[in-house]
């Protein structure tokens, strides 16, 4: 049946957990594109046949309906391919707001090389925009009650240079009293957790 590969691709997005990227299925993607070219070739072939027989292809005979089905399948495959890329791109754009401008390793290996390029260019654009309007749009929207927070380190990171020009030794399970702005990045990457109460 036509279009079965394409729907697999879309289902992959739908079945994944919400907002979670899955590995790029390049094989399936290629299969769908191959199917598209097959439809195109079939169309060309029967068009040529009709031209040789001297039939106007507007005539509503059985070949005409064959065209129609190939044409519809092409459009369908295109829609599925576009949707696959589109929803992955959307997840990538959201990623910048959540984890910052560097892609964590476990996500990077799931991406296609065009997607990596896209991520890089998008974050560049965002950064240049923010420097132009002189606003850090990626800060927390809610004003903090206290500029400092207490955190516990979950991942051993060793000596780290903080944006506020201090260095700190983030050994695993150690607790620190940090500037909120310094800690934000590590918390969203899952390397620290905020301590409350």
């Amino acid at each position: 049946m036509y279009g079965t590969n394409a729907i697999q691709l879309v289902k992959e997005i739908a079945n994944g957990e919400k907002g979670q990227l899955t590995a790029f299925s390049s094989n399936l993607f290629k299969d769908v594109i191959a199917e598209c070219s097959q439809h195109y070739e079939d169309l060309q072939k029967s068009l040529r046949k009709m031209q040789e027989a001297g039939i106007d292809f507007q005539t509503q005979n059985e070949d005409h309906y064959g065209f129609l089905i190939h044409h519809l399948s092409l459009l369908r495959n295109k829609r599925c391919l576009m949707t696959y890329m589109h929803s992955r791109a959307e997840m990538l754009r959201n990623l910048i707001w959540k984890v910052g401008y560097e892609i964590p390793e476990e996500i990077e290996e799931k991406l296609n090389h065009t997607e990596k390029e896209y991520f890089k260019k998008h974050s560049e654009a965002l950064r240049s925009y923010m420097s132009r309007v002189e606003l850090h749009l990626d800060m927390d929207m809610v004003p903090p009650k206290d500029p400092y927070i207490k955190v516990r380190v979950l991942d051993d990171m060793g000596e780290v240079q903080l944006p506020s020009f201090n260095t700190a030794n983030f050994a695993q399970h150690s607790m620190h009293f940090l500037k909120r702005t310094d800690a934000e990045k590590y918390i969203s990457l899952g390397k620290m957790e905020e301590l409350t109460g």
Binding site: G3, A14, D63, Y65, I69, T83, E194, T196
Partner: protein, 185 residues
Amino acid sequence: MANYYDIDDIIMEQQLVPVVFQKAVNGVEIDPSAETDYVEAGSKVELPLWLAYELHLKQVVKMKVPACFNHRTKLELGADGAAVDLRSRCLYFYEFGCKIAPLIGDRDMGSFLLSAFRTRYQQILAKAHNAAFTAPSKLLSFLTKEETNLYEAAQSSMAAFKKWRIGGPRFERASVLGRKRKSTD
């Protein structure tokens, strides 16, 4: 028409519809029982909605009522809507019904879907709030996609309310990174 990139809409259009070919078609491998790439007029095939829809408008095929809207389902939904397993019949029961009603000329479809949704809606909301935070109940396996979304919306609004009342850490690990890894030691 729905959004071009709407994933739910795309999957819904994959639903199979039984059709009868009114005209012969050449050069396509649609009919799995035919050995050649020729479909004769009068052959009965199941086509996905995205294909059947356009062909129906061009009067190449004629649609028949899909199995999930048969008489039995209507009777069951009329008896006790909330207890019917709609998920196994069609994951996109309502959307599919809306799309197909004008094509098969079923005038009662609209009111039938509405009354089915209404009786089930009440149950879903009640259960979502009462069974909050326990293991997903048997109910979930009966729900269509639309209803599952409703159920989850109800639950997440409860969770958000609780969080607002009790308070909690403002920063959390970004959800895109997936579930927490096990500690390395």
